[in-house]
Symmetry: C2
Subunit: 94 residues, 2 copies
Amino acid sequence: MTLDKDTERLAKVAKALGHPTRIRILKYLDNQSHCFTGDLVDVLPISQSTVSQHLKELKNAGLIKGEVKPPKIKYCIDQKNWKQAKTLFEDFFK
Amino acid sequence: MTLDKDTERLAKVAKALGHPTRIRILKYLDNQSHCFTGDLVDVLPISQSTVSQHLKELKNAGLIKGEVKPPKIKYCIDQKNWKQAKTLFEDFFK
DNA sequence: AATAGCTATCGTAATTTTACGATAAGAAAC
DNA sequence: GTTTCTTATCGTAAAATTACGATAGCTATT
């Protein structure tokens, strides 16, 4: 059943979106098109390690991806998975 | 900032959607337009108390509402909040 | 080779989530 | 009034989440 797969995927993405900090990160990324961890640490009222942890979850959910630009890591939205997520939510709310 | 309110709201709704069982419940509700707890217990592979717990979370997030039809409780989607959630996600993914 | 800068990971504690069985609550039927 | 039916709530245990400081890793620079 691809329906069940979609359900699992939708739930996983939703879970990744289920924290205000992660929403803010994604909105920031959407505005800036890309950013480094430090940019977020400057903007968000939480520690560097916690920011990194949230980034990890977004990456695990496939919503963002990181590119190593030593000594920094450049994050941006994973457009392919982003589109898929958008579609899943559209279908769900339709 | 209404933006922060929207962020909080979006995260809250997303969190409520962040479990496959709750997605299934909402899909079921969308198909049937309404249902009782027992209907879901028959369909889902989890116990009655767990179903009730998931319903509670969906209700807390405002996505569904229950109407007492003794001795049952009739659940349906909260259309007003559902529309709002739909809009929040649309704006977010736009 | 040593230092400096940036970020992930580790270790940890507090809180939340998820699941279950058992129990309570409410109204209808007998 | 007792029983029956349906569902919420309680109590509980295991697992996951969230947060932090401290530490490690990786480059580039000095």
